[in-house]
Amino acid sequence: MDRVISAWLTLLLGFLQLAKLSANVEGDALNALKSNLADPNNVLQSWDPTLVNPCMWLHVTCNSENSVTRVDLGNANLSGTLVTQLGVLSNLQYLELYSNNITGTIPDELGNLNNLVSLDLYLNNLNGGIPDKLGNLAKLRFLRLNNNTLTGTIPVTLTNIGSLQVLDLSNNNLTGDIPVNGSFSLFTPISFANNPRLKALPVTPPPPVSPNLFGPKLTF
């Protein structure tokens, strides 16, 4: 009986330690992001790495198991770069980093975020290519990378994401062909507009107005 009790106790304590550890892993990952970002508006002021988990941090949302599900830092005047550690946030569903001044590349490791539903990196200064590994995001519904300076081709792996509903790659510097198979059957020239070196999709007839996104509209 003693042995059974001590076995269960060990198991319980071990589990608690593990739980604490995994929560720290997520906090560490977000803290790495904070270290890589310049934050003139102090939106990350509450990000205290000494806390047991990041769930009390502003702009961070956790689930009932204290695992991060949302990071909401849109329009926060942030600059700097993204970090590979973001890939450990295994329960992350919403990564909202849009409308900042973030530079550098999109980490391949974002392709590890199996539960990601929304990846919004639009309106930044990201360069480099769209990682092929993003094709692994099997639950992705929103992929908005528009208005950056992304180069390279559109990964064909993205056509495998059956859940993809909204794709915006407009206003970048992508090259090559636009896939039309798989999930990309749903996407029109709107999703790819203003990529001067991208091979345009045929449209019959020519559209009435070519949308000039985020540009001034002059009327007389």
């Binding site: 059957s185 029109t188 007839p205 949308p211 996104l213």
Partner: protein, 229 residues
């Protein structure tokens, strides 16, 4: 000399000031086409239950305010650019709202299960060139299905079932390379059905049922030179 130069200088300053005013004025009064699109739709449809009147409030125009309107899905949360319009089952009356043309980034239009009538505009391809999903089912639309729908090359889903469409289904619809779902059941269509060349579509006899005059499927052979209604 000095005074004339002063006049010239003032003129230029005035000119620059007016240009600045014009540019600023244009920015603040800029025609946001998607807002006009929704205003036009609201104006052209009868809304007996006042559902649109309630939700579509244009009085406090902030960036992305239309994105929280009933039935409106935007491309981005804080930008007035409409992705999808979904107004099913709202008791709406009237004709196909031509104002959708001003929603220049529209990909989805669902007006199903309302009391809409009249015909689909023959220039529908100019109104919604990027449409991927068009659902007009369960209304009282009539007339012919316009040939120009075949120019809506990005159509994946076309549902026109449960209406009063008549005449022949334009054979050109068969060229829609992305079409997956096509449903014209329960209309008054006649003549041969199109030959759809797209792959992975689910178009079959179930797409055409309850159109007594339709032929060319399920063993219904089209009789030469005979158009039945």
């Amino acid at each position: 000399m000095a005074s004339s130069m002063r006049i010239l200088f003032n003129g230029r300053v005035l000119g620059i000031f007016m240009l600045w005013l014009l540019l600023n004025g244009s920015f603040s009064f800029a025609v946001e086409s998607d807002i006009n699109c929704l205003k036009s739709i609201k104006a052209s449809l009868e809304d007996p239950s006042d559902i649109l009147s309630f939700s579509w409030d244009f009085s406090n125009a902030t960036e992305g305010f239309i994105c929280s309107f009933l039935g409106i899905e935007c491309w981005h949360p804080f930008e007035n650019r409409v992705l999808n319009i979904k107004l099913a089952d709202l008791g709406l009356k009237g004709q196909f709202p031509r104002g959708v043309a001003n929603c220049t980034s529209l990909t989805g239009l669902d007006l199903s299960s309302n009391n809409l009538s009249g015909s689909i505009p023959v220039d529908v391809d100019h109104l919604i060139p990027y449409i991927t999903s068009l659902d007009l089912s369960s209304n009282s639309f009539s007339g012919q299905i316009p040939t120009n729908i075949s120019n809506c090359t990005f159509l994946n889903v076309l549902k026109l079932d449960h209406n009063k469409f008549s005449g022949q289904i334009p054979p050109q619809l068969g060229q829609l390379s992305r079409i997956k779902t096509f449903n014209v059941t329960n209309n008054r269509l006649s003549g041969p059905v199109p030959n759809f060349t797209s792959t992975n579509n689910t178009i079959g006899p179930d797409s055409y049922a309850n159109n007594p005059g339709l032929c060319g499927f399920s063993g219904k052979i089209c009789k030469k030179g005979k158009m039945t209604n």
